[in-house]
């Protein structure tokens, strides 16, 4: 008969069980990958931000390349910019923009806490 016929004995045996010895060099490799790998933890940027900035920089570089090499593309951009400037110079556009901004401002004062959308659940 073993000593393990009661759970209390089993508990004692479990808690007396020594922890496994980690292999030599494990701590060093953990520290190399973390503490000595640089201040990754102190970086203010998360992975998503880093990826976002990378994409923005790549797009900027791509645009710069096109602007330098493709005259037709530059002309298109100039046309679009001119159209935008003309639209913004139109008093009717400014009136609509002002109206939209005014409504947004008024809505921000009212708040949305008391509002309930028609299809929203409880």
């Amino acid at each position: 008969m073993s000593d393990y016929d009661e759970h209390d004995d089993l508990d004692r045996a479990l808690f007396a069980l020594p922890l496994e010895e980690p292999p030599a060099g494990l701590r060093a490799s953990i520290l190399r990958a973390t503490v000595f790998a640089g201040p990754a933890v102190a970086s203010p940027l998360g992975r998503a931000e880093t990826v976002g900035i990378g994409i923005a920089l790549a797009l900027a570089a791509w645009l710069a390349m096109i602007c330098l090499t493709d005259r037709a593309f530059v002309a298109q951009i100039e046309g679009l910019t001119l159209a935008l400037v003309n639209a913004l110079a139109d008093p009717r556009t400014l009136l609509w923009l002002g109206l939209g901004a005014g409504i947004a401002l008024a809505a921000s004062f009212v708040g949305t806490r008391g509002l309930r959308l028609p299809f929203a659940g409880r």
């Binding site: 496994e20 494990l26 953990i30 990958a33 973390t34 503490v35």
Partner: protein
């Protein structure tokens, strides 16, 4: 909020038990990387033990341990100061193990041996006399869910709530698993 390295003027040695884990986490986040080294020193053995019991493979346990500490270091900002670091790192380690086991499809019943030692030889006959080895072998023979819960019970004491947090299971399930794990262990060891 941690603002500067100057907020943590004291040395963060692992030999000083009064320096708690939350302090070490905060010091690491403040730029004192050696504080994380102290956390590694404190929990390396326990995390490796959990990984080894879960994976039953020394090489994979080593990789999981390293992965767990690496992930913990990278996501240290997400650690909640009111939580226990041990629970957090065990949870990361356990999920690292689960990922590997899942990837290798080793959750299947075939991988779970019926006996502690499927091929006993002359050396294992000697080992049987060693109670600790017998207990370890009996734990290794348990199904994965029981093996992990009994290992955490060993590592964290009778803190069922912490075990439930690590495994992301309801407390009742943890208690049931623990009861069944002990029953199986008891049977295995009585039959020794």
């Amino acid at each position: 909020m941690v603002s500067a390295v100057a907020d943590f003027p004291e040395p963060v040695s692992a030999t000083r038990p009064e320096v708690d884990d939350a302090y070490l986490v905060a010091a690491t986040l403040a730029g004192r990387a050696e504080a994380f080294g102290t956390l590694v020193e404190r929990y390396e053995r326990a995390v490796y033990h959990l990984c080894l019991r879960t994976m039953r493979d020394a090489e994979e346990a080593r990789d999981c341990t390293q992965e767990a500490f690496f992930k913990a270091f990278r996501s240290l900002r997400t650690f909640k100061p009111d939580a226990k670091f041990s629970t957090w790192i065990f949870s990361i380690a356990y999920h690292a193990c689960c990922d590997r086991l899942g990837r290798r499809k080793r959750f299947s019943r075939e991988e779970l041996p019926d006996r502690a030692d499927p091929a006993p030889g002359p050396e294992s006959e000697v080992e049987r006399k060693d109670a600790a080895r017998a207990l370890r072998a009996a734990i290794d023979a348990l199904p994965e869910k029981y093996r992990t819960v009994i290992t955490l019970y060993h590592l964290q004491g009778k803190q069922y709530e912490e075990i439930a947090r690590v495994l992301d299971l309801p407390m009742g399930t943890v208690k049931t698993h623990l009861f069944r794990a002990k029953e199986q262990l008891r049977k295995a060891l009585v039959n020794e």
